[in-house]
Symmetry: C2
Subunit: 161 residues, 2 copies
DNA sequence: GGCATGATGTTATTTTATAACGTAGTCAGC
DNA sequence: GCTGACTACGTTATAAAATAACATCATGCC
């Protein structure tokens, strides 16, 4: 799965198309309105497997539309997408990334490569279990756990060992 | 230990004094210069067990000094303190908090109460172990894991059950 | 003292995010 | 169709968080 994030060995157009299809289905099911604008922002978030900043998305959007859009336009779309679980916000990067498993209940755990910038969503139950155990021991009620691990992905380790 | 973060039932002046003493010792040991300014910023970070923003600290600092300080003054001091492991930055809050165990090697794991704002540093090896296991399975080299769990502390659960 | 290094001061700017208010679609019910 | 409520979107201004570039000052070694 980490290999799948290497832009070189996977069909990323398929990633994008798939994400949009799932988003359409999920929103239809929920009666949420995935408008043209929101859908376009989602597509731009999925530009790559690197988290993207709101202003980078804004720039793309402006270029596509020919006219310059306002920051709020993007932030509002992102807010919707995050609420719907289609996109995650990476707190340590002030950036956004498409969710790898929308629909499933999870809070997002990521391995972020500091060399290539790719982020892989892991959502491993073992991490969540460890957090839940420790929280329970201390009587803390978990709402939203943030797990963002910085480091080096396999590919980048190979390049500079 | 979580009870110790309740401002009502602990001597927080002791927390502050203790943090400053340990900081003095650690910096002396390392030959790092804990200047008057840096020491004062550390003290201001320790104002409470709630993470504080750089600009909040800046305001306090200005008030104390009588003259208004520049943001960079605070950011530079914070950078030093974080490097020395005396302070952690909470990514999800853009805020800083005093380290509960300076000197020990760790990356900081926190339980952050959304009601009272207090943050407790946990640094539990089980979370770190789970992260390391999963990273190893994927060939990912861990550098700096960020774990920030939002939720409700015991005290705040009791208040509104 | 003279000099190198690191810390601080000063000013300006960048990046990220939100507030306030108005307009325009969308849809239900009549 | 029209009306009214609701939601989305546009526009402008502003706040909050962080950094850049350059000058000055302090510290400690030679
Ligand atoms: Zn892809
Ligand atoms: Zn996800
Ligand atoms: Zn205390
Ligand atoms: Zn710590």
């Amino acid at each position: 799965m980490p290999a799948a994030t290497n832009p070189a060995n996977h069909d990323h157009d398929h990633c994008i198309a798939d994400a949009l299809t799932r988003a359409d289905a999920l929103c239809a099911e929920r009666g949420a309105r995935l408008t043209a604008l929101r859908r376009q922002v989602l597509e731009l978030v999925w530009t790559s497997h690197r988290p993207r900043g709101a202003y980078a998305i804004l720039e793309d959007l402006s270029q596509r539309e020919g006219k310059s859009a306002a920051p709020l336009t993007v932030y509002r779309a992102l807010e919707f997408l995050v609420e719907q679980g289609l996109v995650h916000r990476l707190e340590s990067l002030n950036a956004y990334i498409g969710c790898a498993a929308p629909g499933a209940v999870h809070s997002g755990q990521f391995l972020v490569c500091e060399a290539c910038g790719n982020a892989v969503e892991i959502d491993d139950p073992r991490i969540r279990a460890a957090i839940d155990t420790i929280a329970a021991e201390r009587g803390f009620q978990v709402d939203r756990p943030t797990v963002e691990v910085r480091g080096r992905c396999t590919d980048c380790q190979e390049k500079t060992p």
